[in-house]
């Protein structure tokens, strides 16, 4: 039995925004795989909820004429993984969210919830960062579009004001076309787990496949918010594809990330794993590019 005071079911973004403003004690719930856990733990006990699960306009994936991909915030992980647009254009995102929890969670959990929950371990976050995604936020009267990097404020805190709703995750065409990505989730078991450390690498090589033209490296659980390794990215850009490249990413990442010591894993352990998974992810993206000779 969950300790929930009131429950409002919104049918549109406008209605949800109005309900949130009308009832300042409410929280948004969609899939519930984070919110219900917090209620059960007592952290949100007695809360009231505005449900956005029935809002059709924020569900599904579409590709605009200019190539931009719009992912509705209410789209479930399993939908994203199986969506043909995602599979064709940004398979790395479908693969990343396929590593969330287990099948039941992936059938109810949504990408919007994953981002708005603000957890640094969110499986979608590193890839969304590496794709330089934009977030569309609406409040019933209008809205704003922000880069995902600016949305995360701290552990569990995101830039969402009362009455605002994340409606879409936007992947601009220029951020994914010509790129390959790979996500490695390092966790203590292969399912039903959250990341001890995670890394998403998105890269582009030249026509000859021997120069790394562009690379974006984002870590989950290496800092209070998802962390882009900008120094390492800068150092790697333009390097030729070689053993030296892979040595450089491994060592440079270890210099750049600053994971913490906790009972779950030591800082030294996370540094070891961080360098290794960044290297393996980059190797994989280059392999993927090499395998695609259209």
């Amino acid at each position: 039995m969950y300790d929930i005071e009131n429950y409002y079911n919104a049918k549109s973004v406008e209605e949800a925004a109005a309900l949130l403003k009308e009832h300042p004690d409410t929280r948004i719930i969609s899939g519930g795989s984070d919110v219900l856990i917090k209620i059960r733990e007592g952290k949100m006990a007695g809360t009231s909820l505005v449900c956005i699960r029935d809002i059709k306009e924020i569900q599904g994936v579409s590709k605009k004429d200019n190539g931009d991909i719009y992912i509705g915030a209410g789209t479930t992980f399993s939908h994203i993984t199986n969506d043909p647009i995602i599979q064709e254009c940004i398979p790395v995102l479908g693969e990343a969210v396929d590593q969330v929890g287990g099948p039941q969670i992936r059938n109810i959990g949504t990408i919007g919830g994953n981002i708005c929950n603000g957890a640094v371990s969110a499986d979608s976050a590193p890839t969304v960062f590496s794709l330089n995604a934009l977030l569309r936020i609406e409040d019933g009267n209008g809205g704003r579009t922000v880069p995902v990097k600016e949305f995360y404020l701290g552990p569990g805190r995101v830039d969402l004001k009362r009455g605002e709703i994340l409606t879409h995750v936007i992947i601009p065409a220029e951020e994914y076309q010509g790129y390959r990505g790979h996500y490695i989730k390092y966790s203590m078991r292969k399912a039903m787990d959250i990341a001890t450390l995670s890394c998403s690498v998105v890269s582009r090589v030249n026509m000859e496949k021997n120069i790394l033209e562009d690379v974006r490296i984002t870590f989950g659980v290496a800092a209070p918010v998802p962390f882009r390794c900008e120094k390492t990215e800068a150092a790697l850009k333009g390097m030729s594809v070689s053993e030296e490249l892979y040595q450089t990413i491994e060592e440079s990442v270890r210099q750049e990330i600053s994971p913490r010591d906790s009972w779950r894993a030591s800082r030294e352990f996370r540094l070891q794993i961080g360098g290794e998974i960044a290297k393996r992810a980059l190797i994989r993206t280059v392999e993927l590019a090499g395998g695609d000779r259209q």
């Binding site: 007695g46 203590m188 399912a191 787990d193 959250i194 030294e268 352990f269």
Partner: protein
């Protein structure tokens, strides 16, 4: 019937959801109870204010430690002893103001619903005086001020030792002496169904329906805890969702019984959460071992010594029985003329440790079997060859506890099967001296295990059979089905001895202490052996009674010998009368009716050792610190199999536990507060299906003369040998000896860095 893989007798009920578990039986308008747990790890409650909680609408009753009986009671699922010296330690109150671990039970709320009960808990105000927390047994054993329990000044619950031969002299005469230390973690059972009960009063008696392995013991302990006559307590045990030893302890049933009595006998449900199950029920003891052994120039053990330190946690529960069981294991199976062992069980401010599948032997086997590999490595001998050189062939008996003996001993055949499956000889060579980031290895471990608890404790079992009008048989037993398949094999046993179809044995799965024959319950891999003996006796008795009665119906067959087979009474080899006709006469004959029933209460004074081994092949990713189990096999010497498919399932489940113990499962406590950091199924890394490799189970079926059907222990042993076999395989792969399980990525990375491998 015995020896056939018939489907479980409860399979269809469980698969279709018709089987009733405790929560399916909750009475209408049942109140809900919740427990207030301490937020310190050691100290006393200096004040408690429940007034706001009591004022909350929907709250029916709030009770605190000040309201419960003053006297202490014991909790472990051991048979009671009539000798005070052998009685379990009584060190617990239903609620307490003397906090001994983080989360101790201070008060309880009874409310109309769960949300109200939860809200009321938050309104109770508690103030504490805190004492320093100590979670390490080897620090706690020098005492604390105040001690954790006032009558144990040094915090040592118990100490025991034994001596065989002259260890000092043996070590002096040895060619090589090896010393190592090992440590095992606190782990938990993780049965699917949390401990749940509901209690109510009926005709002045208290009734508790509970998810337990030991209904008759729960009845006794509720009587002891509440200070009421045991006959005024009735315990009912429906289907349960696993126990693995956690429910071989009396958990919150006394509190639940107390609560219903506090609310005028209204039904009260106490359904604890998974987090409470982790923190507040029982765990497997963490034990530290210092081992020393000497071997001669041929690699034969000359002398060996064990010193063990067992972390009991805050309350005695099963106490020293766990560490003592490991001491016994130290003197079994391997030939060695000089052996010494000493074990301490020590109170700390950790959660309470109790019984868990294989009762101290997974801990001891981890230490012993890692040690055997480490000795073999020290003297440059193949670890399998080292074991074969030192393991005892054939019959042997324990030097101290008669009649514990390996009446049959299949360990060498087990090793042969396992080595062949894993390709031991080829792979030991192939994987020697690897470099590289990915390395492979193979490892082995062995164990022996007692069947039941005799002569350490009482073994008694009960069975009742009665012939129905249609010639089928009604069966009641006191031992409990807890998912292991007990109801199925008991049905097979009765069918076997009565020469009937198993479909005609109707077993009553629910134990109700008002009507169920006395039996101490499901634990110690005892049931198929001890209860099985009772079932066999009872079935023989009924068989004889049926024939004797049939004889009265067949005066013309006076000179011929009668027998019964699948619904017919035979005179010689001719069908003389159907069993159904006999049964109808027995029920309804106007001249001579007497329903044919049999009931036995059987004490069993036997014990026989099962044994087995595990072989594992692993692949280690050196830079990610991960272990992939490529192949793993357990081979068991458990006597004749009663139901081979069920046996195989038992082994699979146990191997899963063994693998978790080896690589991922451990409870982590905060050093300063003693608070459990990972007491939930996300942070406690129970293996998932995706983490589990294909697992292989095999058997060596020797007909044990002591087992009622040639059988011996199988319930617990599968959980024993996995962890050390995996650890030894990692040793083979990497050359690094990890002496503390589980072999988590953190430990592997630390170890490989220390060894300069990464």
């Amino acid at each position: 019937m015995v020896g056939k893989s018939i489907p479980r007798v409860d399979a269809y009920e469980k698969v279709t959801g018709r089987a009733k578990f405790t929560d399916d039986l909750i009475l209408d308008r049942c109140l809900v109870a919740k427990i207030l747990h301490s937020t310190i790890g050691n100290g006393i409650v200096t004040s408690i204010d429940t007034s706001e909680a009591e004022a909350l609408p929907g709250v029916v009753k709030v009770v605190t430690f000040q309201d419960v009986p003053d006297h202490c009671y014991p909790t472990p699922g051991h048979p009671w002893s009539v000798e005070p010296a052998h009685q379990d330690i009584a060190d617990r109150n239903i609620l307490t103001g003397r906090i001994r671990y983080y989360g101790d039970d201070i008060a309880a709320v009874v409310a109309e619903d769960e949300v109200t009960a939860s809200r009321a808990l938050k309104l109770i105000k508690v103030e504490y005086e805190e004492y320093p927390v100590e979670i390490h047994p080897r620090k706690s054993m020098y005492g604390s001020n105040p001690p954790i329990h006032f009558d144990k000044k040094d915090n040592v619950l118990a100490r025991s030792n034994f001596f065989i031969g002259d260890v000092d002299k043996g070590l002096e005469e040895s060619e090589t002496v090896v010393k190592r230390s090992y440590k095992t973690p606190i782990v938990q059972h993780c049965h699917i169904e949390n401990p749940i009960s509901f209690a109510y009063m009926e005709k002045g008696r208290v009734v508790v329906v509970t998810s337990t392995q030991i209904p008759h013991i729960v009845r006794r302990v509720i009587g002891q805890a509440l200070g009421i006559p045991w006959g005024r307590v009735r315990v009912i045990k429906p289907y349960i969702g696993g126990g693995f030893g956690n429910k071989q302890d009396v958990l919150y049933e006394p509190l639940n019984a107390f609560l219903t009595m506090q609310v005028g006998g209204r039904p009260v449900k106490l359904d604890i959460s998974r987090e409470e199950t982790f923190r507040n029920t029982r765990t497997r003891h963490s034990i530290e071992y210092d081992l020393t052994a000497g071997v001669d120039k041929d690699g034969r053990l000359v002398a060996k010594e064990m010193n063990a330190y067992s972390n009991q946690g805050a309350y005695a529960s099963h106490g020293h029985a766990i560490a003592a069981n490991g001491l016994t294991a130290w003197r079994l199976q391997y030939a060695c003329p000089n052996i010494r062992g000493e074990a301490y069980t020590i109170y700390t401010n950790s959660p309470t440790a109790g019984a868990m599948r294989a009762y101290g032997i997974p801990q001891a086997a981890f230490a012993i079997e890692c040690f055997m590999d480490d000795i073999a490595k020290e003297i440059h001998m193949d670890p399998l060859e080292f074991r074969k050189k030192n393991l005892i062939h054939g019959y042997y008996e324990d030097a101290y506890l008669k009649p514990i003996a390996a009446n049959t001993n299949g360990i060498f055949e087990c090793l042969e099967k396992g080595a062949e499956y894993i390709h031991w000889d080829e792979k030991r060579k192939e994987y020697a001296d690897q470099t590289g980031d990915i390395r492979r290895g193979v490892g082995v471990s062995v164990f022996s295990y007692k069947t039941g608890v005799w002569p350490i404790s009482l073994e008694i079992a009960g069975c009742r059979l009665s012939l129905n009008q249609d010639g089928s048989v009604q069966m009641q037993i006191g031992a409990t089905e807890i998912g292991q398949g007990a109801d199925t094999v008991f049905s097979q046993m009765a069918a076997e001895t009565l020469h009937m179809d198993v479909e005609n044995i109707h077993i009553v799965t629910v134990q109700d202490t008002d009507v169920t024959p006395f039996d101490t319950g499901a634990y110690a891999s005892r049931q198929s052996f001890v209860t099985g003996t009772a079932v066999k006796q009872c079935a023989e008795l009924l068989y004889d009674k049926i024939l004797a009665y049939a004889k009265t119906l067949l005066p013309e067959q006076e000179t011929r010998e009668l027998s019964m087979d699948h619904g017919w009474i035979y005179a010689g080899d001719e069908e003389a009368i159907s069993l159904e006709a006999v049964a109808q006469e027995a029920y309804y004959s106007l001249s001579n009716s007497s329903v044919l029933t049999a009931e036995v209460s059987t004490q069993v004074k036997k014990n026989t050792l099962a044994s087995g081994c595990c072989f594992a092949e692993v692949e280690v990713d050196m830079k990610l610190g991960t272990i992939k189990i490529l192949h793993i096999i357990n081979v068991h010497d458990s006597g004749k199999l009663l139901n081979p498919q069920l046996a195989e399932m038992q082994v699979h489940g146990g191997m899963s536990m063994g693998m978790g113990y080896g690589i991922s499962e451990q409870i982590v406590l905060d050093e300063k507060t003693g608070r459990m950091l990972n007491g939930n199924l996300l942070d406690y890394k129970l293996m998932t299906a995706l983490d589990t490799p294909d697992i292989k189970a095999d058997f060596v079926e020797l007909d044990d003369p002591e087992g009622p059907y040639g059988n011996k222990a199988l319930g617990e042993p599968p959980a024993i040998p996995g962890a050390p076999a995996i650890r030894n395989a990692v040793l083979h792969a990497t050359g690094v000896a990890f002496n503390e399980n589980p072999l988590t990525p953190q430990k592997l990375i630390d170890g490989f860095k220390k060894a300069g491998l990464i």
